[in-house]
Amino acid sequence: MRAPAAVDKRKKGVLLAALAVLVLFPFAGATFYTELVTKVMILAIFALSLDLLVGYTGLVSFGHAAFFGVGAYALGLLAPKYEAANLWLTLPAAIALAGICALFVGAFVIRVKGIYFIMVTLAFAQMFYFVFHDTRFGRGSDGISLNFKPVAVIGNFTPFDLANATHVYYFVFVAMLLVFIFLRVLLRSAFGRALQGIRSNEHRMRSLGYPVYWYKLASFSIAGALAGLAGYLSALQFGFVNPELLSWHQSGNVLLMLILGGVGSLYGAVAGAFAFVALQELYSALTTHWQLLLGGTIILLVIFLPGGLSSVADRFKHTVVGEPEDE
């Protein structure tokens, strides 16, 4: 057993090293990988947002992709056709829209519990999928292409160029850090502790006089808004949106990321996003039927690792990634 101080020190070391690698990564000059890591960091934001629900509020949502999609579509629909959209207008709008949609969906789904919650979130996500897939408003299954990347212009000054992959990388990197810090602060606040209290014993929190419904609804809306941010960034990076962004595969994959990294750990959510994309890249390099391998991996993980991957992390306490934070 290592002394806690030593663990902390080692943890900090690994963390700083990981941060340094991420900061320096674009200098390696491999554009393909810079873009890939950008994509992973966007997924990490998405996974972080879901962790607030699954890991800290105890709400297993199988429909989180809906809000990712709303954020992405917000950019697609708000961007003017013949000129570039303004980042500083469309980004807050996308986050707000996703948050409002989550508030709306949450008002319904928070009323049900457990297994119902999983089914109902999935069903609502499918409803959003159909809204974009079937209506003229969402432009059908082809989705929307952005003719121009958004610009980050403030007055006459443009601090960075969102058509430049390296700039996008750093923009996403900073966004990920901010989301991480935001969640960290949120979870250590009275609000965050109340959420975790609800996760471990809802009845007790209720009898202590906490308005559990509203806490859950707030958590659901915040998670939705952050997922919207991830969706917006994804639309920004790839320059198009389509209904597949809201598909239930997307919801399933982000849950898988959480499991890979360890539910209820912010580091775990980020690590899980990296692990998921690494698996995906590895398997798709092997075969076009890579989903077979991915599915098989998931099944074996669940069967042979009772308690989930985080139980392995428990057994190897001295590793940084996936260690449950007792906050």
Binding site: I115, Y116, F124, L255, L256, Q291, L292, G296, G308
Partner: protein
């Protein structure tokens, strides 16, 4: 909408609802009795439809295909319960979701490897390949009536099985108290295996029955699964009776939704679900 088109839509809605019931009843039984949320349930519907396609191409007869298909799906159900689902009884919902999600990916890729990604049609059997004329221009295909009749017969049989037989008694007992059933010396694991196989067979049978009408295409399982979740949520988890009422409701809402408000065709059933959640969050009927 004149009386005959209304009648046609009504019959279509009921027929769709009855078909949904076959899938949803298995889903709700597996949850109500075994406590498992099975995302892969839609895959059994898909597998059934593809079996109908492959086996009827092979044998030249849909009915032979269906009989062989039922046998194969029972075997599949027993094997899956033995190999995978029996590990899930004591796990939390998140793990159940993940395993069954993994299973969907596996089934979809196997389908793509074995049969490919094309859309296939399955011929309506010759004896049912005619229509009842209603007016000069409107008629109703007999095969759809046959489907509805088969579904009704199955629903009655299911009711009799659960309400009147010894096995049904064990199933009901197992759903309310697993430990008690075991300590009374009954083999609850066998009951679970039977229920799971029954659920798989019902879903696969629905797929086989629907194949001539809906054709056979990738992703057909997912669509049915999510609609069946809506059915189960509306009907109340674990309630067969609720599943029947909710299936018919959804079948009618979807069919008339498509006719009356085609712009929002996909969304009608979800709006219905939202309304019912507001009214009765626990579903229309609780438990069996």
């Amino acid at each position: 909408m004149d009386i005959f088109s209304f009648l046609i839509q009504l019959l279509n809605g009921l027929q769709y609802g009855l078909l949904l019931f076959l899938v949803a009843s298995g889903l709700t039984l597996i949850f109500g009795i075994m406590g498992i949320i099975n995302l892969a349930h839609g895959s059994f519907y898909m597998i059934g439809a593809y079996m109908a396609f492959s086996l009827s191409t092979l044998t030249g007869n849909l009915f032979i295909a269906i009989v062989v298909g039922i046998v194969l799906s029972v075997i599949l159900g027993v094997a899956l319960e033995w190999a995978l689902f029996s590990h899930l009884y004591k796990r939390d919902h998140l793990e159940q979701v993940l395993l069954t999600y993994g299973l969907i990916l596996v089934f979809e890729e196997l389908r793509s490897l074995i049969v490919g990604n094309d859309v296939h049609g399955v011929a309506v059997p010759a004896i049912f390949n005619w229509s009842i004329p209603l007016t000069e221009s409107l008629s109703y295909p007999v095969y759809r009536l046959f489907m509805s009749a088969v579904c009704i017969v199955l629903a009655v049989l299911l009711y009799l099985l659960i309400a009147k037989t010894r096995i049904g008694m064990m199933i009901r007992a197992g759903s309310s108290n697993r430990e008690m059933v075991q300590s009374l010396g009954l083999n609850i694991n066998l009951v679970y295996r039977l229920v799971f196989a029954l659920g798989v067979a019902l879903a696969a049978f629905a797929g086989m029955l629907a194949a001539p009408v809906s054709s056979v295409y990738p992703g057909m399982g997912t669509g049915v699964l999510i609609i069946c979740f809506v059915v189960v949520v509306i009907g109340g988890i674990g309630s067969i009776w609720g599943a029947l009422v909710a299936s018919l409701l959804i079948g009618l809402a979807d069919t008339f939704g498509k006719v009356l408000i085609p712009q929002a065709a996909g969304v009608t059933v979800y709006l219905l679900m939202a309304a019912i959640l507001l009214w009765r969050p626990e579903g229309l009927f609780r438990r069996v």
